[in-house]
């Protein structure tokens, strides 16, 4: 059975349907790319899984358990970690505190206080931030803030990581680095990853499978090379004239 099964997921905001009967599955151990142009509904699906939006219809099953409409903190406790598209650090706390509180509360307080500081250092080390990070988050650039997002999510000890547009706002070298990091997280920690992205280039070399969305509907599921060869996908990304 799949680790995460999304079926018939629909999300309407008033009269606007952002996501329409989307179904896909995530197998344990894979990196799945959830891609599509801006406004295709990627982030909405993502936020439904993470519990930020209650779905209008459909079901989301994680490890055999229905999790649609659970609160975000409960979903985190089930073993799903997430990052935010635009980094949202706790600016009133130090880097280490940001991550340590995630380690503590991410496991519903079932971890001792001394352990949560150790787990925080481990997570910071994993993403390549200084582990003696007593400073605040004010001086951090875009790339470091992305890393902090990731470290915070990792500290909650997820089995499934939802990474939201991790590459937005990074330069080319930083993108390569970030992609490499996701690959390493899967390899070293065995964490399954759903990667939401609209920059396709780097993603295609890292993911095992892609789900392509357009206007809130799935237009393709398959291997990255299938997507790259698909007329409809090219049309969605580059416009109809690119196909001809």
């Amino acid at each position: 059975m799949a680790m995460l099964g999304v079926s018939g997921l629909t999300k309407r905001f008033g009269g606007f349907t952002a996501v329409k009967e989307v179904s896909f599955a995530v197998e344990e151990g894979e990196i799945l790319g959830l891609i599509g142009p801006n406004g295709s509904g990627k982030s909405t699906i993502f936020n439904c899984i993470a519990g930020l939006y209650p779905p209008t219809a459909g079901s989301i099953v994680f490890e055999g358990e229905e999790i649609a409409s659970l609160s975000p903190n409960r979903i985190c406790h089930k073993g799903i970690g997430r990052t935010f598209q635009i980094p949202r650090p706790f600016r009133n706390l130090s880097l280490l505190e940001n991550v340590a509180l995630s380690a503590f509360f991410g496991q519903a307080g079932n971890v001792s206080r001394s352990d949560c500081w150790r787990l925080a250092e481990e997570a910071l080390g994993m993403v390549g931030l200084p582990t003696d990070a007593l400073g605040g988050t004010d001086g951090l650039g875009a790339a470091a803030l992305k890393k902090l997002e990731l470290a915070r999510a990792l500290a909650t000890q997820p089995r499934l990581l939802l990474a939201d547009e991790s590459l937005n706002g990074l330069d080319h070298a930083e993108m390569e680095q970030a992609a490499e990091m996701l690959r390493r997280i899967r390899q070293e920690k065995g964490i399954t990853i759903v990667w939401v992205e609209h920059i396709m280039g780097v993603l295609m070399r890292v993911v095992d499978r892609v789900v392509v969305l357009d206007h809130g509907e799935v237009i393709l599921q398959g291997k990255p090379r299938d997507a790259q060869a698909d007329r409809q996908v090219i049309e969605v990304y580059l416009g109809p004239e690119a196909v001809a």
Partner: protein, 349 residues
């Protein structure tokens, strides 16, 4: 376990010996000065209780309701049911926690924060005040009421200690110390991080597993309990309770002002706020009410002038000293120390 620094030990000894110093230096007006000190300590405790949640951006104007519930429940149970304050106070505290949770839950679930939270809690204060005034047969309405005297002098059973000022001082000091201990306990807990995080970004806090509503309810309940306890003890000390002195918007506003003036993010901030506001209002009251010029000029309106000055100072504090007196002082000290350290490094390097 809290370890005491040498400075803290000196401070504790000084506080323990203070009544004797007052007796020695101000023998003639010992009662008045002790009264001032007791007032400062009791209010410090209430302010500290408020700051437990205030520091996390939960600006409540409802704590005048909690002090009122604590004080009135205790006194009414004593006067009409003969229930000793030893039981009456716990009932008052529990009642005020229940009220706090009833008001808090919908606020936190619906994410009512900032100004709206202040307004919700303001309504609570007014509701409690109206209840007190409406039940005038029991509460004495806006004139207030007194706990029934139990014999002459001090009584353990009736928790009446006001005739012995030195004893009252130690009661107030113990309560104050409990408040500071609680502040430090919260400050060193993981809940503190959860609340700091939730104050910054509720969605992000929830995404790392923090049950924001629960954390806020916990701190609100604790804060309400402390203010109810403070209100009840204040009533027992004053031997009088009235909507103006212990249960109303005026009380709520004084709490907020004092804590902001003293410092919201430092353990002794609320205490410094209490010292400042109590001395200020006392000086203003004595100064203005004693001034013939002012009385001739303004008539009885001069009596209200201290409150006006108070309001003006509040505005100035919020604009120029948002960290409060103690917070600002500590920041200066920190900066001077850093400069000194840098200079030392430069010399040796």
């Amino acid at each position: 376990m809290i370890r005491f620094s040498p400075a803290a030990i000196i401070g504790i000894v000084a506080l323990l010996l203070l009544p004797f110093a007052v007796r020695f230096f101000f023998a003639a007006s010992e009662k008045y000065y002790l009264h001032l000190l007791i007032q400062i300590l009791l209010w410090s405790f209430i302010y500290t209780g408020w700051s437990l949640m205030g520091r996390f951006g939960l600006t409540s104007l409802g704590h005048g309701a909690f002090t009122g519930i604590g004080a009135y429940t205790t006194v009414l149970l004593w006067n009409f049911a003969g229930l000793t304050p030893w039981l009456g106070i716990p009932v008052g505290v529990v009642l005020s926690v229940i009220v706090a949770l009833l008001v808090g839950y919908p606020c936190f679930r619906l994410r009512i924060t900032g100004h709206y939270f202040a307004l919700m809690t303001l309504a609570l204060t007014e509701f409690v005040r109206l209840c007190i005034v409406g039940l005038r047969d029991y509460t004495g309405g806006s004139l207030g009421t007194q706990p029934r005297r139990y014999g002459d002098g001090v009584s353990l059973y009736a928790m009446q200690f006001e005739p012995d000022r030195v004893l009252s001082y130690y009661v107030a000091l113990a309560l104050w110390a409990f408040g500071i201990w609680m502040w430090l306990k919260v400050d060193r807990s993981m809940d503190r991080y959860a609340l700091d995080a939730a104050n910054q970004d509720e969605d992000a806090a929830a995404s790392v597993g923090i049950d924001v509503t629960r954390e806020k309810l916990k701190i609100t309940g604790l804060s309400a309990a402390m203010c109810a306890l403070g209100g009840a003890i204040y009533g027992q000390y004053q031997m009088y309770i009235g909507p103006d002195t212990i249960a109303g918007l005026g009380v709520s506003l004084n709490i907020v002002f004092a804590v902001i003036a003293g410092g919201l993010w430092v353990p002794l901030g609320p205490t410094v706020g209490a010292v400042f506001t109590q001395l200020l209002s006392e000086t203003l009251r004595v100064g203005m009410q004693g001034s013939a010029t002012l009385r001739d000029w303004l008539g009885s309106a001069a009596l209200a002038l201290d409150t006006a000055v108070y309001g003006l100072l509040l505005v100035l504090f919020i604009i120029y000293m948002p960290k409060g007196i103690l917070g600002t002082l500590m920041e200066w000290r920190g900066r001077r120390k850093r400069i000194a350290d840098t200079a030392a490094v430069a010399r040796t390097g």
